[in-house]
Symmetry: C2
C-alpha cells in the first residue's frame, strides 16, 4: 500500500494512473501536481485526488511514491528540483517514452542523494491526450517496460512493478539503451512512416484520399498523434530513430527490388515470412 502518492503531470498517463490507483484503493492519499489549475481542480472535483497543488515541493512533501508524468523534456529539466524536494526513501518512477537519458540523469543525481528511481514506460498512449481522456482501465492489458540498471534498488523495482501490475499491465524489463532502440523500432519509426505515408499521398494527389479504405486509416492512425508530444519524442530519441530508419530503408529497398525483379515466387516467400512474423503479434 502506498501512503501518499504524488502524481506530477495530470495528462492522459498521469491522470489514468491516479484514477486507477483511486478505484483500486492502492494509495491512502493522492496528491496531484500540475501547471494548469483547471485540470488539477477537475481531478479533485471528480474525487480522483485528495489534494492538488501547482507547487512541486509542496506536492512531493511526505510522498512515499512519486509518479513523474510530465512530457519527457520537461521531466529532465525538473528532475533536480524533484530530487531536492522528494522525501527520504521515496520511490520515484516516470512514464517517459525514452529512457537512456532520464535514467542516466537519475543515476547521476542518486550519487548526491540516494533516492530510489526506476524508469517506467507504459506502452498505452493514444492519439488523444489530456486529463479529459484519462481512464482507470488504460493500463489493463498494456505492456509497461521497466529499465532498471545495476544501481537500481531492488525494493524500489519491486514496488514500481507491483503498482503497474495492480493496474493490469504486463511488465517487460529492458536495459535503458535497448528500450530506446526497441521503441524506436516499434513505435517512433512507425509513427514517422505513418506521417510520410500521409505526406506521400498529398505529394501525388490529395484527391486520392477519396479511395482510402480501412487499411490506410489503420496504417496511418498514429499520424494523428499530438505534434507537440511527438516533436519531443523524435528529438529525444533521434539516435535510435536514425538506426531504425536505416534498417527500414534496407527492408523497403529489398522488397522493392523483389517486386522490380519480377520473381513472383521469391516475393511470395518473402511476404509469407513477414506475414508469419506479423501474425504472431495478434
Amino acid at each position: 500500500m502506498i501512503e501518499r502518492l504524488a502524481v506530477v503531470g495530470l495528462g492522459l498517463l498521469g491522470g489514468s494512473v491516479a484514477k486507477a490507483a483511486r478505484v483500486r484503493g492502492l494509495a491512502r492519499s493522492i496528491v496531484a501536481v500540475g501547471r494548469r489549475l483547471e485540470t488539477i481542480e477537475a481531478a479533485r472535483h471528480d474525487g480522483t485526488v485528495d489534494e492538488v497543488t501547482t507547487d512541486l515541493a509542496r506536492g512531493l512533501r511526505g510522498a512515499d511514491f512519486c509518479l513523474l508524468a510530465t512530457p519527457v523534456t520537461t521531466l529532465e529539466r525538473m528532475l533536480p528540483a524533484v530530487w531536492a524536494a522528494a522525501a527520504d526513501g521515496a520511490v520515484l518512477t516516470d512514464v517517459g517514452s525514452t529512457k537512456a537519458s532520464i535514467v542516466a540523469a537519475a543515476d547521476r543525481l542518486a550519487r548526491e542523494r540516494p533516492l530510489r528511481f526506476v524508469g517506467s514506460h507504459p506502452m498505452a498512449g493514444s492519439e488523444k491526450t489530456g486529463y479529459g481522456v484519462a481512464r482507470a482501465g488504460l493500463f489493463h492489458g498494456a505492456t509497461v517496460v521497466l529499465t532498471p540498471t545495476e544501481r537500481t534498488d531492488a525494493g524500489a523495482l519491486a514496488r514500481v512493478a507491483a503498482l503497474w501490475e495492480a493496474l493490469g499491465a504486463r511488465i517487460v524489463r529492458l536495459e535503458p539503451a535497448a528500450h530506446d532502440r526497441a521503441v524506436a523500432a516499434v513505435s517512433h519509426l512507425p509513427h514517422l512512416v505513418a506521417d510520410a505515408l500521409v505526406d506521400a499521398v498529398v505529394r501525388m494527389d490529395a484527391g486520392f484520399f477519396e479511395v482510402a479504405g480501412k487499411g490506410f486509416r489503420d496504417t496511418t492512425r498514429i499520424a494523428a498523434g499530438s505534434p507537440q508530444m511527438w516533436r519531443e519524442i523524435f528529438h529525444d530519441n533521434r539516435a535510435a530513430l536514425g538506426e531504425a530508419l536505416a534498417a527500414f530503408r534496407k527492408s523497403l529497398d529489398h522488397l522493392e527490388a523483389m517486386v522490380a525483379m519480377g520473381d513472383g515466387d521469391a516475393l511470395e516467400r518473402e511476404l509469407d515470412r513477414l506475414k508469419q512474423v506479423r501474425d504472431r503479434l495478434g
Copy 2:
C-alpha cells in the same frame, strides 16, 4: 433486377457479393463458377447460390450480369474465354485491385464483340480471404471505384453502380490509370511499407516485438494479408507503386531531415499539418 447473376470466383469478394445479392433479393437466380468443388458446393448448400459449376461457359450461359471475382492475373488470362462465353448484351464487371490493364484488355475485346464491361474495385478487402469469411455486409459503407472510359456503355455503368449501391457502397469514379495511381498511394504503398516495418524490427532485434503496442499492430495489420494475392497486386501495379515509393521516400527524407536539424518548431508545424490531413479521414 438481375435475371441471372453469374459470380466467377467465390472468394471473400465474390462470395460476399453473392451473399448480399441473395439476402437483398437482387437477382432471380445466382450461379457460382469456381475451381474448387468444396467451396462452390458450400455456397449451394448454405443457400447463397442456386447453381454451381466449374465450367465457365456453362456458368455464363444466359447470365445477364457477370461478376468476375478471380484474382487479377487469373482474370486477365480468362477474359477472352469470358468474352466468348458470355450472353449477348451481358453486363460484365470485376473486382480487381488494378484497372488500367484489365480495362484496356476489355476495350480491345469489345472491338470484336460489343459486350458491356465496367471496371469495379471494391475497397473492402481484409487480411482474411476465402468464401469462409465472406459476408453480406462486407460492402456496407465501403468505397467502390468504377473506372469507365469513353467507350463504356452508359446503361451498363448505371447497372453496375446500382448493384454496388444496393450493397451499401459509396461510388467513386476514376480514370483507370488514375485509379491505379490512387490505390498505389493509399493501399499498395502502405502494404509494402507495413511489410518493411515488420522486417526492420527483425533486422534490428526480433526481441523488440515484446514491446510492440496497439500502434504497431494497427500500422502493420495489412502486412498479414495473403502473400499470394499481394504478390500479384504488387506485380500488376508495379509502375504506379514505383511512383508512390518515390513520393514516399521524398516525404520520409524530408521528415528525417527535420528531426536531424533539431528545429523543433518547424517539425511541430509539419507534424501538425499532417495530423490535420489525417484527421479529416476519420
